[in-house]
């Protein structure tokens, strides 16, 4: 079984749970034969993990969408689940324990980069300036890897599809 993972650091994940559903819809519409049992769409770990299954050719592919609500959670759990080939979505600002927003998302970039490489990291944020003005990001983040909220869901799906390369003919 092939596993494709999306790791998402996001302090308000309730507004972004459409990502796995929209991705499933894409594959379902374009490759109906890949979908059995209507996607085997499920939510686990108190909603932190959403997954669905695809059958691309002879391979069973499990797509996992994992949520991290803050920097601490990300730093604690990310490396446990992350592997090469995974995809990482990062929010810039997350909620501070005392209220207020802190740019935690920028701090975890090196950790994510080490695990999956910068080509597989995208920022999804309302604060593009925070990313653009941060010296750590200027050379590290590839061009175009910054998505502004409210984001076009189809654009996100296209990026994910391109990254997972499930449609590519087998080598």
């Amino acid at each position: 079984m092939i596993i494709r993972r999306i790791h998402h650091l996001e302090d308000e994940p309730e507004g972004l749970r459409w990502i796995p559903g929209t991705l499933l819809n894409y594959y379902w519409l374009n490759h109906p034969q890949w979908v059995r049992d209507e996607g085997e769409f499920s939510e686990e770990e108190e909603g932190q993990l959403i997954s669905f299954a695809l059958y691309a050719g002879s391979e069973r592919v499990k797509v996992e969408y994992r949520i991290y609500r803050n920097k601490t959670e990300f730093e604690r759990n990310f490396l446990t689940f992350a592997q090469k080939g995974d995809f990482v979505l990062l929010d810039v600002l997350t909620e501070d324990p005392n209220g207020g927003l802190v740019p935690d998302g920028l701090d975890v970039f090196p950790l994510a980069e080490k695990a999956v490489g910068s080509a597989a990291i995208y920022y999804l944020s309302a604060y593009t300036n925070k990313v653009l003005s941060d010296p750590r990001m200027q050379n590290a983040l590839p061009e175009g890897h910054l998505l502004l909220k409210p984001v076009d869901a189809n654009a996100v799906v296209q990026i994910l599809v391109k990254h997972f390369r499930l449609e590519d003919p087998p080598a």
Partner: protein, 730 residues
């Protein structure tokens, strides 16, 4: 009129007899055909006598007589007359022995009798210091009765002299008092003081210099001819003005041309000769004969210096300033010392406001340093030591000063009550550290590096004031930062809401396309996902709508007058809100139980539906947001004829006692201190909710009870009258 009768008349009618009246009366008492009475004033500081005035009978002295007396006066100045002995009772004048006085007395026909009487006022029934002499020249001896009258007159005259001296001080001061306007420049006050002093001391020129830096002065005011030209003068360190300021005591000089006298007074001749020449050039006479210079001393520092130049040759025949002139100058300087700090403080308010509110603290640093170092000479460096209370992260922010003092960073981070000495880079340094008060989130200290080991109380007060002003600015800066942060959070919340709306619409659209294009009957699972997507669209649309509605609160307060009241089924409204939030509860594995106990008879209430919907939405949304997973949220509605009540209870984050008021303030959120339990928000909801409840004449409270293991039961209570009367909600 006999002398005795005149004395009685004087004592009964004249409330404030002047010196001339006393002299005339003395003439009357002597009862000679030819009589002259002279009043000589003794100046113990100068050690000489000055002829104050004289009266002759029957004829006034002619022009020659006056000139002779002037010459006689000049002779006294040169020490050619006998000066009194140390015992005033034995003093005697023998001026008639002087050939010029003899000639003068002969021409007046009053050469037969001469007597002189010391003048002493009674102080606590004891004779005080000798004030001067009353000299009588007459053609014959006065009677015994007259002698007795003259004794009384001497006492009266002495008392009048003292009274007149005090009145001169009061007159000079009274001209300065009304109105004391701190809003006008300090130069205006000094100009008034210069005018008053010049008038009171009969000076040719009066100047006032204000300190601009350590022992450097600028002319701030002048009174007398050519005073405009005086403005261009400067008194640099080392000048006469600076020397007097550093000595902090009054200095008198009879003749500036006398080098020996200068050396005796200053033990140096390094004072600013060009300044002296310039001042001398300003005087109409072109020469400086006598000077009286006094510093205005506050604490240990001279903040100004006042100069009186040349006594005018008026009715008083003295050439040098008298002890009384000194007294007048002293009281005026003391008055200025009491008032100038207030002017400087007011000016400080004005200037600091100008500096701090026209730019950021960083941009204004240089100006601030200039301001402080000007107000307090001897300052070498000024810095702010700022430490965040939460992280204890410390930052040194230099406002200015000498680079050698940059070791401020090594200072202890605590306020000091007095100037303290530290060893920095092997050198002795003096510092005064004061806290900038009333700051939230940070401890800020003002560190002042000093060249001297002393600060006066006045200077400490100035620094205290400076800190208070800085506090305003830093608080305003914090508030501005907070506003910007709040704006960012609002923007964040709106964008997040729109992200949800757009994303779930596309997910639902995708589901629809699959059903349409692939023409199959979806299972319950797929249908549930489709339904959830649509519910989430509705939820995020509603959240965004509520947020935008709440943000209207920032544009104006919610008041009774702004409510659009109408009859509404309150139970129906609460049900709609609860149902709309069920998907949010489902996402957090929270169950929402709505317990409607509202009797049908009272269900119709008078409310602004839009606002109350916002209130209920906020309370239930918060309860879901802050509840622990898999815990119930209960919403209970009860009511009676007079009012309806809503209780929303969750099992989640504990609200500390201290936070129960704060959470109803704008942009304040529940600080849980536990990252795992924090939930996003804007800090608007409860503040707006409270305003809505109060506009409806009701009240909102919260109760939070810890249940252990980080769990607490929290209930928000809302009570609102069913029908809003005119008085309620005002």
């Amino acid at each position: 009129m006999s002398g005795t009768k005149g004395l009685l008349d004087l004592l009964t009618r004249a409330t404030r007899p002047d010196r001339t009246q006393f002299l005339s009366l003395t003439c009357d008492l002597v009862a000679a055909d030819h009589c002259a009475v002279l009043l000589w004033l003794w100046d113990p500081e100068w050690g000489d006598l000055a002829l104050s005035r004289y009266v002759c009978r029957p004829a006034e002295a002619d022009r020659d007589g006056r000139s002779v007396l002037r010459r006689r006066f000049a002779a006294c100045k040169l020490g050619k007359c006998q000066t009194p002995s140390s015992d005033p009772q034995n003093w005697a004048l023998t001026l008639k022995e002087n050939p010029e006085i003899q000639d003068w007395a002969r021409r007046l026909g009053c050469e037969g009798y001469e007597a002189s009487y010391p003048l002493q006022a009674l102080v606590n029934d004891q004779p005080g210091d000798c004030l001067g002499f009353l000299q009588i020249l007459a053609d014959k001896n006065p009677s015994t009765e007259s002698e007795e009258g003259i004794r009384w007159l001497r006492q009266g005259l002495a008392a009048t002299i003292l009274q007149t001296r005090e009145q001169r001080k009061l007159k000079a001061l009274s001209s300065l008092l009304p109105p004391l306007e701190l809003t006008v420049p300090i130069e205006s006050l000094l100009t008034k003081a210069a005018d008053a002093l010049r008038e009171a001391c009969r000076a040719e020129l009066c100047m006032a210099f204000l300190q601009v830096s350590n022992l450097s002065f600028k002319p701030a005011a002048a009174s007398g001819p050519f005073r405009r030209n005086v403005k261009k003068l400067e008194a640099t360190p080392g000048s006469l003005i600076a020397l007097i300021a550093s000595r902090r005591k009054l200095v008198r000089m009879r003749n500036f041309g006398d080098v020996e006298e200068r050396r005796r007074l200053f033990e140096t001749d390094s004072y600013d000769a060009p300044l002296l020449r310039e001042i001398t050039g300003e005087l109409p006479s072109g020469t400086v004969r006598s000077w009286l210079v006094a510093p205005v001393v506050v604490g240990s520092r001279s903040i100004a210096v006042v100069v009186l130049a040349n006594k005018l040759p008026d009715s008083h025949l003295a050439e040098a300033f008298s002890t009384t002139d000194e007294g007048v100058l002293r009281v005026v300087c003391e008055f200025l010392a009491g008032v100038i700090p207030s002017y400087q403080l007011y000016d400080a308010v004005d200037r600091l406001s100008g500096i701090l509110f026209s730019s950021s603290l960083e941009d204004a640093s240089a100006q601030l340093f200039g301001f402080v170092s000007k107000m307090i000479p001897g300052i070498a460096a000024v810095a702010l030591i700022r430490r965040k209370r939460a992280s204890l992260e410390t930052e040194i922010q230099y406002l200015g000063g000498e680079s050698g003092w940059l070791a401020l960073a090594t200072l202890p981070k605590r306020p000091s009550q007095k100037v303290e000495e530290f060893e920095v880079d092997g050198k002795k340094r003096y510092f005064y550290i004061r806290e900038v008060p009333h700051l939230e989130g940070e401890i800020c200290l003002l560190a002042v590096g000093l060249k001297l080991a002393h600060l006066s109380e006045y200077e400490k007060k100035l620094l205290s004031f400076f800190c208070k002003e800085l506090s305003h600015v830093l608080r305003a800066s914090h508030a501005a930062d907070r506003l910007l942060e709040n704006f960012i959070e609002m923007r964040h919340a709106v964008r997040s809401g729109l992200t949800g709306v757009v994303g779930y619409i596309q997910e639902a659209l995708g589901c629809y396309q699959i059903y349409r294009d692939l023409t199959f009957s979806p299972s319950a699972l797929s249908q549930a996902r489709f339904r959830k997507s649509l519910l989430r669209v509705a939820l995020f649309a509603n959240k965004t709508h509520q947020l935008l509605e709440q943000s209207r609160f920032l544009l104006g307060q919610i008041k009774r007058d702004s409510l659009r009241l109408g009859g509404t089924s309150i139970s129906g409204l609460v049900r709609e809100v609860v149902n709309g939030l069920r998907i949010a509860a489902e996402d957090r594995a929270v169950t929402v139980n709505y317990n409607n106990k509202m009797p049908d008879a009272f269900d119709q209430v008078s409310i602004d539906r839009q606002y109350i919907e916002m209130l209920v939405f906020n309370l239930v949304d918060n309860a879901i947001k802050y509840s622990h997973r898999k815990r119930p949220v209960s919403v209970e509605l009860v009511g009676a004829l007079s009012e309806w009540r809503l209780m929303v209870t969750d099992y989640g984050v504990h609200i500390l006692e201290n936070d129960k008021k704060a959470i109803f303030q704008l942009f304040t959120r529940r600080p849980t201190g536990q990252a795992a339990t924090t939930r996003p928000g804007t800090g608007l909801g409860l503040a707006v909710g409270k305003a809505v409840v109060e506009a409806h004449g009701g009240e909102i409270n919260v109760d939070s009870t810890p249940l252990g293991d980080g769990l607490a039961r929290t209930t928000f209570f809302v009570r609102i009258p069913r029908v809003l009367s005119k008085e309620e909600g005002q």
